[in-house]
Symmetry: C2
Subunit: 356 residues, 2 copies
């Protein structure tokens, strides 16, 4: 890494708060000893935690904030109550004014998205931001976006998501040209919603720097058919949560089946390492960190229930995308879009609005 990186941390976000945020920062700092933190939150609580983490204490500046956004605050409430005063707001604001290169928060998603949009604004040529998730697949991992930032995007916005997603995958997977698929109900051209069909036409016709695979279906997500799966925030959010629910169901079935007889219990005893490995592969903390794309700055959303290892994963992600200059890369790629989609100017659907 060439320059010093500073990550701003919302010290009050998440189900647990300061203790797990500081412990996560400790793990991340061992892996990235060159980074610095700005910790926003209740100073007394943060100082108490830093006494257990001298590494983080040395690498951090504390900025006291009075307000903590709760996990149940509605985005509008959070904006009213937490504007300027909250740890979440100030962590994002540090990215806006250049004190930090990325913000990490385990706080509530709707509030974080609303604040990030207000503070950072979208990049030129980006109409709406997207929230990303990284999904384990048969091949390795894929990026899924949007998972809930924008409900009812039109074709231009879907194309913007494709451009943003491939820029992210290039950095995340270290690939030259990740493949991109549009999520649909079939692979044939005539299938799907109007916006999905029109987006595919733009992507097929354009000479954007995108390896466009075409349509993919729901089962292609886990297959890893493409590196980047593009969809609207409604379908993406439901798909992501459907995956989470299905994993939990299968783990519960398996636990049930393994405790059924004395033989299966013996089997469980011998196969413990296999189950530990399976658990590690499915551990949401391993894949923790959802990135908002399309904003004028980097904000990583950690799972609210993440443990220290999970927070560390989210910080790692922030370090990776910040040091690779993701925002500049997206801005450069999106710039090419100006010409591509201007021909297909379509009015915003009246049904379109945001999830927050």
């Amino acid at each position: 890494m060439v320059r010093e990186l500073t990550i701003s941390l919302d010290g009050m976000g998440g189900d647990i708060g300061p203790s797990v945020i500081v412990a996560g920062a400790e793990i991340a700092h061992v892996r990235h000893p060159e980074i610095r933190f700005i910790l926003f939150g209740d100073e007394a609580k943060l100082r108490a935690e830093l006494e257990k983490s001298p590494r983080v204490a040395d690498a951090s500046t504390i900025v006291h904030t009075d307000v903590a956004i709760s996990m149940d605050d509605k985005p509008s409430q959070a904006l009213r109550r937490g504007r300027k005063t909250s740890s979440m707001w100030q962590a994002i604001d540090a990215v806006r004014d250049g004190r930090a290169q990325a913000a990490v928060s385990a706080g509530n998603t709707g509030a974080l998205m609303a604040m990030a949009k207000v503070i950072l604004k979208t990049l030129p040529n980006v109409e709406r931001p997207a929230l990303t998730a990284v999904i384990p697949t048969m091949r390795s991992e894929s990026v899924l976006l949007d998972v809930g930032a924008t409900i009812g995007p039109d074709e231009k916005q879907l194309v913007q998501f494709a451009v943003m997603g491939q820029a992210y995958a290039r950095i995340l997977f270290g690939m030259e040209r990740p493949s991109v698929g549009l999520l649909n109900v079939g692979e044939e051209e005539m299938k799907g919603t109007e916006s999905v069909k029109a987006a595919a036409q733009i992507l097929r016709a354009s000479d954007l720097p995108i390896r466009f695979h075409g349509f993919v279906e729901g089962d292609d997500i886990a297959k890893g058919t493409v590196d980047v799966v593009v969809t609207d925030g409604f379908t993406g959010n439901i798909s992501l949560k459907t995956i989470e629910g299905t994993v939990r169901l299968l783990v519960s079935y398996l636990r049930d089946a393994m405790s059924r007889t004395i033989f299966t219990k013996i089997g469980y005893f011998f196969a413990q390492t296999a189950f530990t490995m399976l658990r590690a592969r499915l551990d949401p903390n391993e894949h923790n960190g959802a990135l908002f794309l399309g904003l004028n700055g980097l904000v990583v959303k950690s799972h609210g229930g993440a443990d220290a290892a999970g927070i560390a994963s989210a910080i790692d992600l922030a370090v990776d995308v910040a040091s690779a200059g993701l925002v500049d890369r997206i801005a450069a790629d999106i710039h090419l879009l100006g010409d591509v989609t201007s021909g297909a100017a379509s009015e915003k659907s009246p049904a379109q609005e945001e999830a927050v």
Copy 2:
């Protein structure tokens, strides 16, 4: 059962064709010795199979057809090529004219849906049909609809799906008042697409015979939070295939983990019955049979790759819903809707069209 039931079978549908259809009918007939079949397809091929299944031979009438719809035929092709002449068309037509009480086909979904709509038409007050799936959950099973028949339904059509889904669940699960949820990106009232929000308003305000739970999220499908999950065909199709893909991914991870060391292999040996049980619970043949709802007659779609046990499950389903008089029950419940949704008359969106 009070009256004799006849099931019409598309003898040529599916990846395998006559052999598995007849073998499946044999299994189903052991469980329902009172039912009769009309078998549509190539007479020579069907006769050869019936020699191995005297039970089915005794209970069946063969009707020779020259045309078999292929699994790759587009719906429009199938309608042109197979109108009146194909085994698929004639199996459905037998339901229209009362020779059979339900049709079962393992043929291609798009073609089956297109033909079923042309031949049977939708019930009064039903604008669009829905395709259902039955999903294993933490509690037991739930009905998910629509899984691909109607892309972009408006709020009235979503309400019709809710009514149809609960009528189906009442029969399938033997419940008085199954609970119904609308799939969304959050539980709060202000979240989601316009049509989902408007459908929730209608369902909350109405005195329809529906136990409306409110919004559910993607992970609620596997949790079994409600008995009936209602969504549009785009999201439903993608959710269903996302579940299938995730199950396959986890089974592959598990296989991988269990063959890693000598200990895990010993564990696998002892725990075999657990894995057999797990496999049975996840076996798509156990849950085989997707029903088209909202038509003037019953058509069950079997998975194209189903084995004999899978075909038998699909026939069982046809027998259950036919003997319970599902079409009449839906017609009666939907009749109540006329008043409920007429106030909220909304024009059909121009983007709306069908998946086929």
